[in-house]
Symmetry: C2
Subunit: 199 residues, 2 copies
């Protein structure tokens, strides 16, 4: 791999990752609103032409970055990472910690931008509803299944309520200024989630 020559043209993953990095760098510097293909191309030392060929909009680009980062950190599906810790409290804390780490990895700028774009477009909202939300419900069903098997008394709640842990993490990240540490997650579990799910 020679990258010292005057002419060296990157392709495939090397080019993609360079563009991803440039995008993250620029979004942190100027914000999503002021993010332009022109700037990114310049920062990634490529051309706009290349970018327009791959992504129609900024949204398409950052969504690809999100998926890339998620598979990187999770190495699979969230549901496969949920294990029985011996108590509902432990299981919920595990879930919040894991979900929070995804948010932290993707970064607040990109996460915020994606949620904004979803909110803009009813089609995207429905698409998210059938994908992410349903997956999250299955995660919670698995988690509450552990508790039932252990003999813990679990309330019967609607599917919409099952998404509460995920919703709380979103609110924490998007609207609050404070850092989200272990204490904060424990508070969410003890004051909100356990009263809601535990009879």
């Amino acid at each position: 791999m020679n990258n010292s020559g005057r002419n060296m043209r990157r392709r495939g993953d090397a080019l993609s990752e360079s563009i991803y990095d440039a995008t993250i760098e620029m979004i942190q510097k100027v914000g999503y609103t002021n993010l332009t293909f022109q700037q990114i191309a310049q920062a990634a030392k490529t051309s706009r032409t290349v970018m327009y060929r791959r992504w129609k909009t900024k949204y398409d680009l950052i969504r690809e970055i999100m998926v890339y980062k998620m598979t990187n950190i999770l190495g699979g599906e969230l549901i496969d990472r949920i294990e029985d810790t011996g108590s509902l409290r432990g299981d919920l804390l595990q879930l919040l910690t894991l979900y929070q780490s995804i948010y932290a990895e993707i970064g607040p700028e990109i996460m915020n931008a994606i949620l904004f774009e979803i909110g803009q477009d009813r089609k995207k909202k429905i698409e998210i509803e059938v994908n992410a939300t349903n997956k999250n419900i299955l995660v919670m069903r698995k988690l509450l299944g552990f508790a039932k098997n252990r003999g813990e008394k679990i309330k019967e709640v609607s599917d919409a309520t099952l998404t509460l842990p995920f919703d709380l993490i979103r609110v924490e990240n998007l609207l609050r200024k404070d850092v989200i540490d272990r204490n904060r997650l424990e508070l969410l579990v003890d004051e909100i989630l356990l009263p809601v799910f535990l009879a």
Copy 2:
């Protein structure tokens, strides 16, 4: 008031409201991302110059619209509209209904855009924290005070948890596709809020 002549120059509130209306019209048509001063000025039959003099950014404009609509619908502060309905369940349902009506009045496009801009900027986040969040906490303290006076057993929770009713409405409006009717609000009260706040 003559508005039939070739020359008729609007001022003050008449002009403002015309710009507000044009903004809402355009944001619904093209979305916040593609919203431009140029388009708004054209739709409101005024000039960009006038707009730039008043608002530096799109955010400043829609924020003014939000404040305008809120004072219109509420006619004062939210906390003054909260009354003792005789039960915590009734009080919480009253709060959710009222807060939801504010969201509905302002409209999802503007609400979504404002939350997006807040998320973009740490300064704005802190500004919101000290204004809106603290106000909301006071509303909940008043509401829980009613319950205590009635003799209902209320859990002691942290301030951060007191914002839960408001957070739930936000999540409902921004992330869910379903319409938010009375049944949905009752479910939020019965499955989430009452277990969290009632001992």
